[in-house]
Amino acid sequence: MTTTRGETLAAAARSEGIDCDGLRVEADDDGFSVTIEEAGVDESGLTVADLDRLADDYPEYVSNWAYWTQDRGDADRAFLRWAERADELSVPERYDRLRDGMARTWGEVRVTPRLVDGERVYELRHEEDIDRDRDELDTHEDPLDARSLVKTDDDGRYRPLKTAPSLPHGWAFVDLDGRACAETVEYVYPATIANWYLERQGDLDVDHWRDAVARQSGIYGVVKTWDRGEGYEHVNWVAEACCDDSQCVKRREWEYDDETTLDVDGGDGVFPCREPCSLVIAAARKWTRLAGEEEQTYEFTLTPSEKEQVEEILDAVADGRADEIREADVSDGANRYRARFLRAKRVDEDGNLAGVATDRDD
């Protein structure tokens, strides 16, 4: 014999009570009481048959409750509810939108929950692939596939930082249930759901720069010597170089220390960055060594345009734009012909800019 929805509601009401997104069902000596505030329902002394009737009248509230009472981790539940804006929209509003599919962006991933035959299914794809037909994309259903998929960028280069904005295009994870959706996201952006959830709970444990470098050892131990009690300007530069939204989709929440915030913006990422990552530490090791050098004064002779061209080249490399500059676009200072001309004119056979020797002390 199949259990009716009324019987399922009754059993849940008797054990723990029901309180989910506006649906409240309680059991007492007179039977059951039900309130659905948005729908103007407030009835008591109900029988199981009455619960069946209300379940028929308000099926979305019941199916919504059934879905969100499924056993899953707190962080995953919060993430999946975020995906359908459960904190902002009423159940009927959500169900209305879920039929067409809602979408939110997590890093570079578009998360799309949709109702299919009354059940939530999830799809994930690169946000820039949102308008492409599914049959144009390489579709997957096994979350584990994501692990190898995100290893390289569109050019096949290894991605050392999972949260770099270089996610490859052309794939879709389809027909995922909630658990598989969260699992896939965790392969694409490890630990982001867990840390985002901790932050929402007010429990994110941030390790600031000073804490993070203090615990380094081995070849990275040298980084702590970069802090000389003379301010944190160098850490501003690190954050600007590595943690800008153009370099990482996490939102930097770590600062110099718990009393000193950096002057650089942490970015607009949905999920937080709780400590300087291994790439930051590895780069900082190099910068620590470079910072040990004494400054020198050099005298170069350049035209104003040549000076600006050097700056344009620096910008183009720093912004990852060098590959995009067209060969014929000689108006761009970082154009290859322009750079080659400058080198031919201003760099001697030993590679010295304007013929000025580096003249290292060491």
């Binding site: 190898s148 630990a191 867990a194 444990d205």
Partner: protein, 239 residues
Amino acid sequence: MLRTVDSEEAYVVPLFISEGYFTEQVIPRELRLDFEVEQWDSDGTSADYTTLTPADLDKTVHYCGPVGTHDAMTDVIVRRAESVTGDSDVGDGFGLAVVGHGTKRNENSAKAIRYHTERIRERDRFDEVQNLYMDEDPEVDDVTDFFESDDVVVVPLFVADGYHTQEDIPEDMGLTDDYRTGWETPTGRGRRRGRRARPRGDASCERRLAARTRHVAETATPKGPTVGAHARPRLNGGF
């Protein structure tokens, strides 16, 4: 990453070859585990696990010794010699060199290699079994000096097939001056059996590796016994 684990209890298994700086200091520190090496009660190759609670989480963590010192790894090395020669009975007439990184900074690095070498030697399967190292004596550079056998299978015991296994070791052994050019077809005396395999980075590699090794170039050193360098064992192939 422990915070992404739903379970209340987790086993942490370092994918490292030996006990040392990373397994004893870096990993516990980064996982916020208050770990003292004495808790493993290890002789350098016998760490099993110890149970700890991370400082930032309410979970039980069993912190295990590295995979490289597990007894099963001995079989992985032998399996590698089998798959790469295409001979499931390989041993008679063959020498086996187990090559580790080694470091003068920590004796445990070599201990792990020596442990498996001795276990294989006890099986009396190969004519000779020797442990060799990149960064300490006996050095892999002199591999042929340590063997009398004409055929030597070299199995690097590393966790990944990368710089050391693909570039350093073949060059150190004199198989090639430049790993990018591969090895030349051997000339000179003796039977040439050396082969080189590069494992794939994905699962079910064993079968494919065996297939691939049948048509990889034969290799030899100009003097002395013939040497074939074989890539490191894979966990998924041998367990």
